[in-house]
């Protein structure tokens, strides 16, 4: 009989940060060759590349903590849906371009303050990865907030589409800053920021940009959650099927 070994919560942190980055990176990369204009095709591919690169750094660290000899690729490509810890937001479908941009904005507005908080972590490796990723996230947020404003405050059509995207996706935003015991333990030990502080920064940014975009935040409604605990929407299974089929069909295949 084997007993599951309890790993340091830093492992969960690295896995969660990596899963969020990986799944959103995979989602935006679906636009490659399909985006509405060439510049956006390139932009989405580049954002996806940054996120997948960040996921690799987080998974390398998670693998080192687990000390079971797993590579970043194995962590990304050989786990099933229940083992993924990403928030439900990042697995939501691309939808129309308004949905893609709104999802990106809601994510970026959390990602940047979270990474800046992690850059002050007492864990040196966490701090290094976060500081590196924060530079990229700064650029992503500049771009996504500009888009939300120019399309929200754009034509009647673009405004309505951005509002519909906000209504559909906003209920998912809260999960990113919903603390569980692991988060509270990490914050108490100075390894990760207090998520209530990140939640305030996240909301302040969302409110400022949504107001400038002449959009309305939906009020009330429950936070859609569960991803962090491995309880996902049906979308994740399809993402994994697309992302993992090669390693599943040809175990050990290398580039």
């Amino acid at each position: 009989m084997t007993t599951a070994v309890k790993l340091d919560p830093v492992y969960d942190l690295a896995l969660r940060m990596g899963d969020n980055a990986l799944i959103l990176g995979q989602r935006v990369s679906e636009w490659c060759g399909h985006a509405p204009v060439l510049e956006e095709d390139i932009a989405m591919a580049n954002v996806g590349l940054d996120l997948i690169g960040q996921a690799k750094m987080w998974f390398d660290y998670a693998g080192a903590i687990e000390a079971a000899g797993k590579s970043a690729d194995e962590i990304a490509l050989l786990r099933d849906a229940r083992a993924f810890t990403n928030a439900l937001l990042v697995e939501q479908p691309n939808g129309d371009y308004a949905h893609t941009l709104m999802r990106q904005f809601l994510f970026d507005a959390w990602h940047l303050p979270m990474l800046k908080g992690l850059a002050a972590s007492k864990d040196e490796r966490i701090a290094e990865i976060a500081a590196k990723s924060a530079k990229e996230a700064t650029y992503h947020l500049e771009r996504s907030e500009d888009f939300v404003v120019s399309l929200g405050d754009g034509t009647a059509e673009s405004h309505d589409r951005m509002q519909a995207a906000l209504d559909a996706l906003y209920p998912f935003a809260g999960e990113l800053t919903l603390a569980d015991d692991i988060d509270r333990d990490l914050a108490a030990r100075g390894l990760a920021p207090d998520l209530s502080v990140i939640a305030a920064a996240h909301l302040a940014k969302i409110e400022a940009v949504i107001t400038e975009a002449t959009l309305k935040l939906p009020s009330g409604g429950a936070v859609r959650k569960g991803g962090k605990q491995g309880l996902h929407s049906e979308h994740l299974g399809f993402i994994l099927a697309d992302m993992q089929w090669l390693q599943r069909a040809y175990p050990g295949a290398e580039w």
Partner: protein, 166 residues
């Protein structure tokens, strides 16, 4: 017979060799111009070279490490180890003056200097690498590689790549 065992090349020599290793995406720049080689050190008979990635997902990163190791081995040093160093995070402020001049001559506007981060310079004034005009505008925040953005000149009307301050 390898000469390395008898006479270890000096660290200065190694840096000179590295100055001949081109970036695979922007071959006009060497890995030294780009500022990604962060350290060269002998540890006994093993040569350790610390390299920092530009963007975390840049596909050129793995190729760069291979090319650096290959260039060193070609000179007769067999025991070479490439270490990835994440901190401090790479900045375009580390691109040498020579590198900036090479970029411009190649038709890529060099990064506006002293930018600790892109967020500090949301609207940089970028000179057209073709005609030198400052009447330029951004077409897209992203370009042909992760490190570049797509710009155009309103005077000579040419499009160009801008190596983003980062």
């Amino acid at each position: 017979m390898s000469a390395a065992a008898a006479t270890k090349p000096s660290v200065d020599d190694i840096w000179r060799w590295l100055a001949d290793v081109p970036d695979p995406e922007i071959p006009v720049l060497s890995v030294v111009d780009l500022g990604i080689v962060r350290g060269v050190q002998w540890k006994g008979n093993r040569l350790t070279i610390a390299v920092t990635p530009t963007y975390s997902g840049c596909p050129a990163t793995a190729v760069i490490s291979l090319e650096i190791a290959e260039a060193i081995r070609r000179r007769g040093v067999d025991d070479v180890k490439i270490e990835t160093c994440l901190s401090p995070a790479w900045s375009t402020d580390w691109i040498s003056d020579e590198g900036r001049a090479k970029l411009k001559a190649y038709g890529i506007a060099p990064p506006v200097a002293d930018a600790r981060c892109v967020g500090d310079l949301k609207n940089p004034i970028v000179e057209c690498p073709h005609c030198g005009s400052a009447a330029t505008e951004q077409v897209s925040r992203f370009g042909s590689t992760p490190c570049k953005a797509h710009w155009r000149c309103r005077d000579c009307l040419e499009p160009f790549d801008y190596f983003k301050s980062f």
